[in-house]
Symmetry: C2
Subunit: 333 residues, 2 copies
């Protein structure tokens, strides 16, 4: 068989199709001949299944076509027992790099296990593009697979709120001096100023206070606008984004509390019956603008930490008052 590089396609003469497509899922048939993407040709060269492309061996082919990252992921998935195709052979308008078939299946079957995107550690990942599995290749060429999901953010922590509890704005927090006991005990707002006395004064974050003021439950001298203004003073635009997410979570009957100890914006409780008997919190939520671009390393950090504390990291992408949710988790294909 003759293998020739033409632009970004390697043409393999007959019986290329029979040998590499029909039996092993490489390339895109062209009669009895076969078109290969460079990454597929590189893999066949690496394995010694073809000897050269236009006189180039594996080493020179890799240097010429510059498909190193793709090659590393392609090879890893083949080693794990998957057949996969460069997305160009599978025209479904998605921006994936590879379409990975279920183990045992190939391009002649219907199923798709993963739509996969290859990302170098040093590239940025746009928040809005998080809609397929990521294969992140780090600087030492190890691959981390991150699965992207649509999390179910709903809860049952709905409670009646009091009205007009007086609060004092102190620096970047609000103290409610005489709150009704249920505000903390049942609805899990704030934190007792004296940990040993849950019925005493409550410290609230600016977010909690702003939301409670919106709902008419709390009033401060500076009014709702004064709390938001203080929030913007200390956090800038981030405050508005975080308030939009806080509000959306509360409206889905989920209780958000600070995720500070986990380095995120919130940890969330779906079903709070009592602050004295909290269950496990399910999600860690990181709030970002919808135009945010992630460094893959930061994604790896969040995913790893969340996994270690048996939670799931959720990114809340904020566009004005609209919030979209995306969860990430480590995946072993």
């Amino acid at each position: 068989m003759n293998a020739a590089l033409d632009g970004d396609v390697v043409h393999l003469s007959a019986p290329g199709r029979q040998r590499f497509y029909d039996n092993r899922g490489y390339g895109h048939p062209d009669g009895d001949a076969l078109d290969l993407a460079p990454v597929e040709a590189a893999h066949l060269l690496f394995r010694g299944d073809i000897e050269s492309v236009d006189g180039m061996d594996f080493r020179s082919f890799l240097a010429t076509t510059d498909c190193t990252l793709d090659f590393l992921v392609y090879k890893d998935l083949r080693d794990r027992g998957f057949y996969l195709s460069p997305a160009r052979w599978y025209d479904d308008g998605l921006s994936a790099d590879f379409v990975v078939y279920p183990r045992g299946d190939g391009p002649w079957d219907d199923g798709i296990e993963y739509r996969m995107r290859v990302v170098g550690e040093r590239e940025r990942v746009a928040a809005s593009s998080l809609d397929q599995t990521l294969a992140v290749v780090d600087e030492e060429s190890e691959i981390t697979y991150l699965g992207v999901d649509d999390p179910d953010i709903t809860g049952s922590s709905d409670t009646d709120l009091p009205s007009d509890v007086y609060g004092a704005l102190l620096a970047d927090r609000v103290v409610l001096w005489d709150p009704p006991a249920d505000l903390y005990r049942q609805a899990f707002y704030g934190r007792p100023l004296d940990g040993r006395e849950a019925d005493g004064p409550l410290q609230c974050s600016l977010l909690e206070a702003a939301y409670l003021a919106e709902r008419g439950a709390v009033s401060v001298d500076a009014e709702h606008a004064g709390i938001v203004e203080r929030g913007r003073q200390v956090e800038g635009d981030r405050f508005d984004r975080r308030l939009a997410v806080y509000r959306e979570l509360r409206e889905r009957d989920v209780v958000p509390k600070t995720g500070f100890k986990f380095g995120s914006d919130f940890r969330t409780y779906a079903d709070v019956e009592s602050a004295d008997d909290l269950g496990h919190s399910e999600f860690l939520v990181r709030v970002v603008g919808c135009d945010h671009e992630f460094a893959p390393r930061d994604l790896a950090l969040d995913v790893r930490l969340a996994h270690g504390v048996r939670k799931t990291i959720v990114f809340a992408l904020v566009d004005g008052s609209e919030v979209e949710w995306v969860s990430l988790s480590r995946l072993t294909p």
Copy 2:
């Protein structure tokens, strides 16, 4: 006793000293009278030990003196059984906020358990100022204590290097096509291109390749300068900082490998005998410029993650080719 606010001191008339200093470690004696910092007066007001300062009760005093953050930490440490003094009563030129005495000791003793700095979640912490325990107050007024240490970064992973192994610069990595087996197996450089064949080609990160080229062990067509240039193209100044840290770690006979999966720059192995039988890696290293300012939340994230994987987070502060090391860990006073 009469309590009067004068600037940022509360004067307590006699027998203030006897009642609150001699027995309970508050304030700074002035004959039989006592000078209190606002945070100390706030605590006495909160406890009901004094009724008012210039007619102000606890609530109005807190609103007037704006010492909320300090108060939260002061109270928490008192609740945990410590006596502590505002650093102003303890003039040793350190920039701490509080001097905390060993449990059972007080200002009349010699020991110091912690020099503590109070930080709000929204403040920045200069890398160069990491020299005392941090008490970080998050937006919901929970306190996270972070201990700062001087880590021992030394190892025994010293190996002879080969000379002039040929490498090819491919995008943002280097492949050594025919390396001596010990380069990976014993010195733990690179990663086998084919995981099942440790003696075959090795993929190296740009950092590994640049260091090996500096040592004369590897040569690429673009030479050492070409590797560094490629590094700067893809990472900017960060590459130089990371290379300085990589070099320093190798020169301390510690093996750095990527910390990507942990969201850091490196994980380190002090005593590598063989890549096939690695021990546990001890540190996660994050590289920053010496003028870096941390968001406390990022510190919390790193510390929490490192703890979860039984490692210690180390910050490498880089000033040109000079590296300073600081480790952080969570502390329960």
